[in-house]
Subunit: 419 residues, 2 copies
């Protein structure tokens, strides 16, 4: 991004639990994605235990970086030393911030809990630094601008560790200050396009060269099972060009342009079309229904889920012919179609998807190896369509990949219906 | 652990994708848990981009630590510089290791793929260092013992980044060398006890003081939604004492002592008792069935899953009385019991669990707020038992907490049946 001056940025996460493996450090990846949207990259991320260990790593980072973001260690316990050590390292005195103290008192009063003395230190702030209000916890953040830093020209952010406190504070308080530091007052924008049905290499071969030619556009891919997210950043014009290049080529594989998941997109399309939905699952064992019901408001459109793991369940719950299972096998086009049709009939829903396959590790054969699956989509008053998939992966990844293919088949059918 | 000399250990993860947030860094937590089993703790973890950035962080770590583990950057591309930079920093010459070269040639021959020149550098090794064989990829690991290190007394491990290559190499090659470094030839053992139905604070109040008194025992907790894992390490005697103290107090809440999940434990108990299993889910939307079918071999015991999201599904699929739903509400003891009984009857299974609740964000009332749920367990030839739960959390966490309570209810019923 030619408009953004290079800012060397480091992240330090404090927390013994992160190093013991009790808690997965998701901050690193989260900061990476968020900072990418501002055109910034992390040059180094460090995790240190609670307590005094922050001292060395902070001192080193101050000598290298233009900005350091520290998370954790702002709580009331004796192990929470980030505030104290930062002030010491920067040679700044800590004083009680009256507004922060009143806010703390208000936090406890609202909850009818007594404020203990240990909390008092949470209102301490290096002289001249900014208090960053915390609407979701007791620990305010702190911003020390470069001009206060006697040791180097580095800005320092101290932020709380819990995501529900960290994320809102980052967006409200850190982003504008980082923008100013980076010399970008004008808002840069980010766009996330989610795709399914194609792989990252399709993008490399298909559009990489053209995206690279768009002035001021940065882009990156993030591949998951059955999904590739393309992230674009730049000004409005660059984003629009990037979007156009991408969608001309891969538009039919687009899940969403607003970070919505595939299941949320399916629920939205069902609502828009006023259609109800049912699932009939064998190998995915309820995963498709589970994903759909993760979406708030799914109950408006999702009514019945048939998890027909045993053959007796396929016949009993969905009316699949035992003879068909005997003749074609439970993993077959005939049975997938009969499951989708049966789900439609038994539920009275407007659209139904069925999944049958071999998740492994057992149950495979030469003709139908582990990873084989059939998916069918039945629509009230329409043709039932079926297709096979092959995902020779471990059991959980197979289930995820097949559930993705099933939801994508529903999305396509809904798009085709009224678009 | 008094027997283990304190080893200062640092982990450096290389990978631009980790800092961009494209990939979650799971290595930190994984190493933390694995090293804990050896009585070792990570004193600092650092993530740096691919390429030259490893140089500074390695140099700094060599000055601080007794052992440094580096992951990533051992591949064949121009960005993969870990091997070269480490040799340079340590002042060691790189030479081709003939055994590693033959192993590489074998890897490609086996797969019928040509070996390109870029792969040749993967057979390079600092003079005198150990090549760590990689059964699952092209990049062998490297171990530089302290005696070769001219700069400090620090041991260096270079390991591949992908978990399927890293994990086996760690266990086969790194663990024995770390044991030797730490002066512990005798195998220390680790024990993981998984519990549900009680919280971490119950352990603190109940047994912390007694565990702390066991000589040579280290312990730590890892809390998830609806689950607390207690990790013990020490010699056989210490472990046995720790286990006894814990189980005397909390034995009835034990899920497993072999790291098996709750769902895997339920599947095992079902198999042992020769019982088949069905689920009837409303608010969890298929999550209970999904978790059960994540377990390999679940098809031997799990037959039917009824995801009755709409009231019409509860009546149509399970025979719940529409009048009961009208009178008591879908989230009620009466409906939960009728769902479990219906699942048993319609499936012919030996045991069935039902779940009905309000996941939110909508649908709550003063009498039944978001987070309210009812669970029932029906057993062929036995009484149906029901109980209520309250988990006012976000939608996904609510589903997870309630599915955990449902599976735990099944586990208890199975344990009571034949133990």
């Amino acid at each position: 991004m030619s408009q953004i001056r290079a800012v060397k940025l480091e992240v330090i996460n404090t927390g013994t639990e992160l190093l013991l493996g009790n808690t997965l450090n998701t901050h690193g990846a989260w900061f990476g994605r968020e900072l990418f949207k501002l055109g910034l990259r992390i040059s180094r991320q460090t995790t240190v235990p609670d307590g005094d260990a922050i001292r060395d790593s902070l001192q080193e980072a101050l000598g290298r970086a233009d900005a350091v973001i520290v998370t954790g260690g702002l709580g009331p316990t004796s192990d929470d030393l980030t505030r104290e050590i930062t002030a010491e390292v920067l040679g700044l005195e800590l004083i009680t911030d009256e507004a922060a103290l009143r806010s703390l008192e208000g936090f406890f009063a609202l909850r009818g809990r007594p404020m203990v003395d240990a909390n008092l230190k949470q209102a301490l702030c290096p002289v001249g630094a900014d208090i960053l209000p915390n609407a979701n916890g007791t620990a305010p953040g702190i911003y020390v601008p470069p001009r206060l830093n006697g040791r180097s020209n580095c800005a320092v952010f101290l932020l709380p560790g819990p995501p529900r406190e960290l994320y809102p504070m980052y967006h409200a308080e850190v982003v504008p200050r980082l923008r100013a530091l980076a010399g970008v007052e004008k808002l840069h924008q980010a766009l996330v396009l989610k795709f399914t049905g194609i792989g990252e290499s399709d993008f490399h071969q298909g559009i990489d060269a053209r995206l690279a030619e768009v002035p001021g556009l940065e882009y990156g891919y993030c591949a998951h099972i059955g999904e590739v997210d393309l992230r674009l950043i730049g000004d409005e014009e660059a984003l629009e060009k990037g979007r156009k290049i991408t969608l001309e080529r891969f538009g039919s594989y687009l899940i969403s342009d607003d970070e919505s998941s595939l299941e949320a997109t399916v629920v939205r399309l069902l609502k828009e079309r006023g259609m109800s939905f049912a699932t009939a699952e064998s190998c995915t064992g309820g995963l498709v229904a589970n994903r759909i019901t993760n979406v708030p408001g799914a109950s408006e459109v999702f009514t019945h889920g048939f998890v027909t793991y045993a053959n007796a369940a396929k016949t009993g719950m969905l009316g699949v012919s035992a003879q068909d299972i005997e003749t074609h096998g439970a993993v077959s086009e005939v049975v997938a179609r009969a499951m989708a049709d049966g789900a439609l009939e038994k539920s009275g829903a407007d659209i139904a998807v069925s999944v049958t396959g071999i998740a492994g590790p057992g149950g495979g054969s030469e003709e139908k190896p582990v990873g084989t699956g059939w998916i069918a989509v039945a629509v009230r008053g329409g043709q039932t369509e079926a297709f096979s998939v092959f995902h020779p992966r471990n059991r959980k990844d197979f289930k995820l990949a097949v559930s993705q293919a099933a939801l994508e088949a529903v999305r396509r059918r809904l798009k085709a219906r009224l678009s």
